[in-house]
Amino acid sequence: MAVDEKLKIELGKQGVLVTTLQELYNWGRRSSVWPMNFGLACCAIEMIATTMARYDIARFGAEVFRPSPRQADMMIISGTVTKKMAPQVVRLYNQMGEPRYVIAMGACAISGGPFKQGYNVLKGIDRYIPVDVHIPGCPPRPEALLEAFITLQKKIDAQPLTGEGRPRFLDAEAPGEFPVPDQGQHDLEPPSNRSVWPVPITLGNRE
């Protein structure tokens, strides 16, 4: 149930705080998203720069970098995911507790980026795990990572607690574990998880 916005402001002037449970809950969730201390490649350096004095991600409540996936809420895929690393990335994601979010930072994490044609490069981490925010750039500037983080906060804010579109951890039906790909003789098996990643239709591959 939403509160009338004008009434809320009026009451606020009188010193009365009115809110909904959903707003309060989401405010709490979005203000303490702890990222995992997980650097993959070049973008990791910009990720570290974002935590340092100049950009200071602490302003958004996300300065507590946790080395263990068990204690982290957000995974920043900061760099190229190779086929040798991909099973580990999926495994780490499986080990994170809900609620969990993924930011794909940089061109490599989105699509393989400049290394797309490499034989050992995964062409986008969203082939195996669901991604919440993509940031382009090679590497994205720290400001871009902050923007991605704010986008994620907005996304959390807008999530209803019940019904359609509720977060995964409130939905008993939602998948909790994602299959870890095997390293085969020539390539990863399977090459993608089609339930997470149906091949998108673009102008290029429409029949």
Binding site: K83, K123, Q183, H186, P191, P200, N205, E207
Partner: protein, 226 residues
């Protein structure tokens, strides 16, 4: 520093029957190299390291190069005897014909070593070794016993090129995972086809994505027919 010719002479004086050849480098860098026989290579390497004048104690760079089989097409004039009927009588006649012949020069894998001297501060001296072919005679002696720095680089060449180094203490794949079958740096390596979705306008990538879709469509058609 000594020239390549002088180094070759020094090696041949110290290791009799070493059979070193000079591979000239036509480019402006003029870094000529010495081609070693694999059988005597370790002895030569030890000499180069321990010789007080050369003192090549720093093996900087080890790398593989893949040279594919070369098909050489050449025109050869051939004289042959043909039996022809001239004036109703069969008689042998010699005639000259131009023939196109194809000859396959077998390819090989090459390992290149760049040596420097920390003690004397000179270099580089470039050594090369070649395998017999690209499939079954791919053994070369390992230099890890002479220079420790060859350890990981030779493993890398084993992984990416498939050269087997005899005498290497720990020859395993280093960059690709265990169980991977191919040698991806070889020129004829076929990459796995995982170009399902390509929003880029890069020609090469787009071509591969189209090829992938064609394959998938063909497979789907076959499935429907059954």
């Amino acid at each position: 520093m000594k020239t390549v010719e002088e180094i070759k002479a020094a090696i041949e004086a110290a290791v009799p029957g070493a059979g070193v050849e000079i591979v000239p480098n036509p480019g402006p860098s003029a870094q000529h190299s010495l081609l070693l026989k694999p059988e005597r290579a370790v002895e030569v390497a030890k000499f180069l390291r321990d010789d007080p004048e050369l003192a090549l104690d720093h093996l900087s760079n080890v790398t593989g190069v893949d040279w594919l089989d070369k098909e050489i097409t050449e025109k050869v004039k051939v004289t042959r005897t043909v039996t022809k009927t001239v004036d109703g009588v069969e008689q042998p006649i010699e005639e000259t014909v131009e023939e196109t012949r194809k000859r396959v020069e077998p390819g090989y894998l090459e390992v290149v070593y760049h040596l420097f001297s920390v003690a004397k501060k000179h270099g580089p001296v470039v050594l090369r070794m070649r395998t017999g072919n690209r499939s079954d005679q791919v053994e070369l002696p390992s230099m890890t016993r002479v220079w420790r720095s060859a350890e990981f680089q030779e493993r890398e060449i084993f992984d990416l090129y498939g050269v087997v180094f005899k005498g290497h203490p720990d020859l395993r794949r280093i960059l690709m995972w265990e169980g991977f079958k191919d040698h991806p740096m070889r020129k004829d390596y076929v990459e796995p086809d995982d170009f399902e979705y390509e929003p880029t306008a890069h020609d090469e990538v787009l071509r591969r994505a189209q090829a992938h879709r064609a394959l998938e469509a063909a497979a789907a058609g076959k499935g429907a027919a059954q």
